[in-house]
């Protein structure tokens, strides 16, 4: 029987973080987290409540080691280290430690390599229909992703969209959704059931808080989905909802730019991404009102008939 974080006493989480490490599994990745920073244990207990804790036996072979410890000579600051001392991040205020730790967990995947194609994007699903939301930091991608997840869509990922190089299916880690600034209050007010970790104020990306992913999404994280739609998302305050198809060539370039390891994968990355674009309807989505954007995604989903890719232009590959 797999134990989850919410089955551990808070003191146990704290002791593990300060001792042998808290070993977690998040989809295809496993982490051993260590930290002596105050508030991290409580933050993890809140935001990772439904995630499986690895047994000592399984924890012997985790993928990534991440530590966030206070500086001995300046305890109000902390240092993030990945893979022992292989990667160090700049020193941060200890009171934004959880956000730092989260970014460190992402950095593991970006920096230490992974054999599947990884995009900076959110993945949500309804039934067997995978939807990719692509956008830069501040594009409103995570806000939309959080709202969809709390509206009953299955959250696969907020930050790391994983595309199998073997069969093109989408997967994710179902880790907490990172919300910033006004999005935090927007989601909090809109969804009474939303559970957040502590607020990390005034980070380099603004005020940040992590939304606990729905338990069902965490439990079903290993269920992969075929990609069906790609939205290039852009939030603009006050903007009216606008959507239009994006030609596949441009979509492919945009997706390649949003990938962390497309270049590393070479020909395999190209073929994997081309197959994704083949199978998906690709659109730009500009929104200024969350309700409008959510309605559009629901409408697109209900309006999708036939097999994925039937609206796509005929494509052929050579070489």
């Amino acid at each position: 029987v797999t134990q989850t974080v919410n089955e551990l006493a808070l003191q146990d989480v704290r002791d593990r973080l300060r001792g042998r490490g808290l070993a977690l599994r998040t989809g295809p990745f496993s982490y051993r987290l260590r930290s002596d920073v105050r508030g991290i244990a409580r933050g993890i207990a809140r935001t990772y409540a439904d995630f499986p804790v690895l047994s000592d036996h399984d924890a012997a072979l985790v993928d990534y080691h991440v530590s966030l410890n206070r500086l001995r000579w300046l305890p109000s600051r902390c240092q993030l280290r990945i893979a022992g001392d292989a990667h160090r991040w700049p020193v941060a205020r200890a009171n934004i430690g959880l956000a730092w730790l989260e970014w460190g967990m992402n950095l593991c995947v970006y920096a230490l390599g992974y054999p599947e194609l990884v995009l900076h994007g959110a993945v949500v699903a309804r039934g067997a229909e995978g939807v990719l939301l692509i956008g830069h930091s501040g594009s409103g991608k995570s806000t939309l992703c959080a709202a969809l997840a709390l509206d009953g869509w299955r959250l696969l990922s907020d930050e790391l969209a994983i595309i199998s190089t073997a069969d093109g299916l989408l997967s994710g880690t179902a880790r907490p959704v990172i919300l910033k600034d006004r999005s935090i209050e927007l989601i909090r007010q809109r969804y009474g059931q939303a559970v957040f970790g502590p607020l990390a104020a005034q980070t380099h990306k603004g005020d940040v808080a992590h939304l606990r992913p729905p338990g069902e999404s965490v439990r079903r994280v290993d269920e992969r989905v075929p990609p069906r739609r790609v939205y290039l998302v852009q939030y603009r305050a006050g903007a009216r909802l606008r959507t239009r198809p994006v030609r596949k060539g441009r979509a492919m370039i945009e997706l390649a730019k949003s990938s962390f390891n497309y270049g590393l994968l070479g020909r395999t990355g190209f073929l994997t991404l081309a197959r994704l674009v083949d199978r998906c309807d690709c659109s730009e989505l500009v929104y200024g009102n969350l309700d409008e954007a959510l309605s559009l995604l629901e409408r697109d989903r209900c309006g999708s008939g036939g097999e994925p890719g039937t609206q796509a232009a005929a494509a052929q590959a050579t070489g």
Partner: protein, 78 residues
């Protein structure tokens, strides 16, 4: 490696690892340059492929396209 969607052509350069989005004419130029050609020969072949007549405008366009493809590392000097 190529991928074609209507008038859009994506080509992956295995040597540089770069991916490029090409229009119809550049893609046709690149395809024709699969074998070495003189500029006039290339213009004629392209005119045939695109069903247009060879004129100075086409020659200039081909010249620019060849320089562009060279700058991208998609073709090399023979």
């Amino acid at each position: 490696v190529w991928r074609h969607w209507d008038a859009e052509h994506i080509v992956f350069n295995g040597k540089s690892g770069d991916t490029h989005l090409l229009d119809d004419v550049s893609a046709a130029t690149l395809r024709l340059l699969d074998r070495a050609m003189e500029p006039n020969e290339l213009s004629s072949a392209l005119a045939t492929e695109l069903d247009v007549t060879v004129d100075q405008e086409l020659r200039d366009y081909v010249d620019r396209a060849v320089h562009h493809l060279y700058a991208l590392g998609l073709i090399e000097r023979a």
